[in-house]
Symmetry: C2
Subunit: 403 residues, 2 copies
């Protein structure tokens, strides 16, 4: 019967979690609450205004406001509207705090954000390459404790923890799947370990998915229904917002554009195939191409610095990589016809130097109508995209009024 | 505000039409009606059972049953259930008839179907290659009249007409976009012309989209949430069911996998690019490869016949084409991780001869987890997939209780 059930979904900022029955009363209630909260983000409103703006009945609005008030999420005060008595409702933003964690190959970022999508505290640290998952988790637990203290946030106000990792997550098992940029983490049940260590509800997702979510919540693309976020780093992956929601496909592994075949008999890829996009356009490949005879491989930051200084070989390598990414994105656009493609990752500061060849590759390989109507832009969120997306994931999935 | 509005969608068999405000009362009412109708397809039920099975309140069910009864869509009769008086409701299947039309390069198919997804009448005719849109439309109008008479269906029972064409439709203008296999139709406003000639509500879609819809309604893949339907013919295109719904992207042009670059500097494609999948795997290309020195090019039927008879050159050409299609589908699966890929079009009778190289190409080019979990199968609906999908499009979009 599952496939036949109806589902209420919002176009933005609300997915029902995988464990909820999508047609259930509790899912519906949660969505209606999110609707009210989202409307209040624009500023205080009376109950009558909330009803008009959300399309919910006045009785439903009044029930939800009562629940949110009891949970401390909103404050109310009597007022008058058109000469009648009314109840004004405003968001108590700091009453609900989301924690975002971005686990990287050699970094860890943690952020605290409130319901109004304001950052309350933020910190990032460097970790040794090839570290075990436990090292990261312990560091995250410590970092969270110190951020809570710095920001004066009570643990009781945390509604949940969102965590992103640079690798696919198999939704059938909840574990990190083969293909992760963190090979030490494959098979690891991040969600279970984090929940045990933190004693808080945890939501886990792939970093490119969180980048995509970030763009339509924190970023400038709020309201965009179909968006692709591409992370170009040591791996290349994409997150998809389709019909306003993060798209997970069948087993949760989507956006694997790093393994699109670009060169039929090209270099061997870590996935076991040959000539994948990652073998020609990842920062690792760029670094290898540019580091011959150098004592140390170039870091992504150094690639950016040299490109901005006009080094010809660096510019050429970036141009070739951009064209290849554009070619892969031409196929992506041909398939799902997004409105916007956002490029993120450690090369984001390159701006037009990287965007121009990507656009050129896209226009060359997409069918004309699609090439002309797809805009390609650089992420404005930089290295914070994933961690901010992790916090947004919490507000989308946690039950803020019943914790 | 549009991007922020909430939308109620079903997982299957119900899209709100593009013109409806997705959060509106009328869209909600239509969806609830569809829920009741869908539940009744399994057989008669009491109002209490309908309420339990749909999750709708008894008051809502009772209102909808009344509306559907007044429209003649359901019949009711008093009964008892657990010793209490109850109202048994059953579908009056033939009270609502959908017309499906499949416009092809040289064929025209028309079907009449009832609410229980039973075919009442069906016919297909051959048209000259390169015919103008008007010729097809006139033929469709005549064919519909004769089918209605044959099947004894009253015009008043038609809830709408679904029409499929082998080409993309630009949703911003409602016209046939560049890239259609019917070049004479580009820029043509099929919907407006059909509505004028038929005096009935019309819904228009791309043929590959209708193939996909067909598989999850008429076909064996009912309940599949993420499915790709690939039509291999003179063109190659895909229709996508994502999260249970046909996916249209930004401007309505999706699934253009025929223009995935397979050979970097390959043959020139009608899209203006080089080495597209269509240049190596369409039936036109197969026919060209196999018809050197022949007086007439091989038809798709003849390709199938010779392959089944074991002609080595034909088998080799099909193998190469299948591998290329599989490679393109590897990229598709890496991106959207579907559960099932269904192959349709005039080569469907090839069965494993075509499926095997497609699967081989997919496994070679998809990341392992995705390759292993994606099933590839031949359409069981054959040449009827598109026309049946066109009829299904009507039941998804038409307002069956208010015409």
């Amino acid at each position: 019967m599952k496939g036949k059930l109806y589902r209420m979904v919002s176009t933005l900022r609300s997915t029902t979690s995988a464990t909820d029955n999508p047609g259930s009363q509790s899912a519906l209630r949660k969505l209606n609450e999110q609707r009210i909260v989202e409307t209040l983000m624009a500023g205080p409103a009376t109950q009558a205004e909330l009803s008009r703006q959300t399309g919910l009945s006045t009785a439903t609005v009044s029930n939800i406001v009562k629940v949110l008030h009891d949970a401390g999420v909103v404050a109310t005060e009597p007022t008058t509207s058109s000469g009648r008595r009314a109840l004004s409702v405003r968001l108590n933003s700091n009453s609900a705090v989301a924690v975002g964690i971005d686990f990287g190959r050699r970094h860890l970022r943690v952020v605290l954000a409130n319901l109004a999508y304001e950052v309350l505290a933020e910190e990032n640290i460097t970790l040794p390459l090839g570290h075990e998952a436990d090292v990261s988790i312990s560091a995250a637990v410590d970092l969270l404790d110190s951020l809570l203290e710095d920001a004066g946030v009570r643990r009781a106000d945390i509604v949940g923890v969102g965590a992103g990792i640079p690798g696919p997550i198999d939704h059938r098992t909840g574990t990190v799947a083969q293909g992760a940029i963190l090979p030490e983490w494959v098979g690891f049940h991040l969600l279970a370990h984090l929940e045990e260590r933190l004693g808080l509800p945890v939501f886990v997702d792939n970093d490119a998915n969180l980048g995509a979510l970030s763009e339509v919540t924190w970023g400038p693309h709020s309201g965009v229904e179909n968006l692709v976020f591409v992370k170009i780093g040591s791996g290349i992956g994409a997150g998809l917002i389709l019909n306003g929601l993060l798209f997970y496909g069948q087993v949760g592994v989507t956006g694997e554009i790093g393994h699109a075949t670009i060169v039929e008999h090209g270099a061997v890829c870590r996935c076991g195939n040959r000539g994948c996009l990652e073998t020609v356009a990842s920062t690792t490949t760029m670094s290898e191409l540019l580091s011959r005879g150098q004592p140390e491989p170039l870091t992504p930051d150094e690639i950016v610095r040299r490109a901005l200084a006009g080094h010809p070989a660096v510019l050429r390598v970036i141009d070739d990589a951009g064209l290849a990414v554009g070619r892969a994105l031409g196929n992506v656009a041909n398939l799902i016809n997004p409105e916007v493609i956002v490029i993120g990752g450690p090369l984001a500061d390159l701006g037009e130097i990287l965007l121009e060849p990507i656009r050129r590759g896209l226009l060359r390989h997409a069918v004309p109508l699609i090439g002309e109507t797809t805009s390609v832009t650089m992420s404005a969120l930089g290295a914070r995209a994933e961690v901010l997306g992790a916090a947004a994931l919490v507000f989308q999935n946690a039950d803020i009024a019943h914790r």
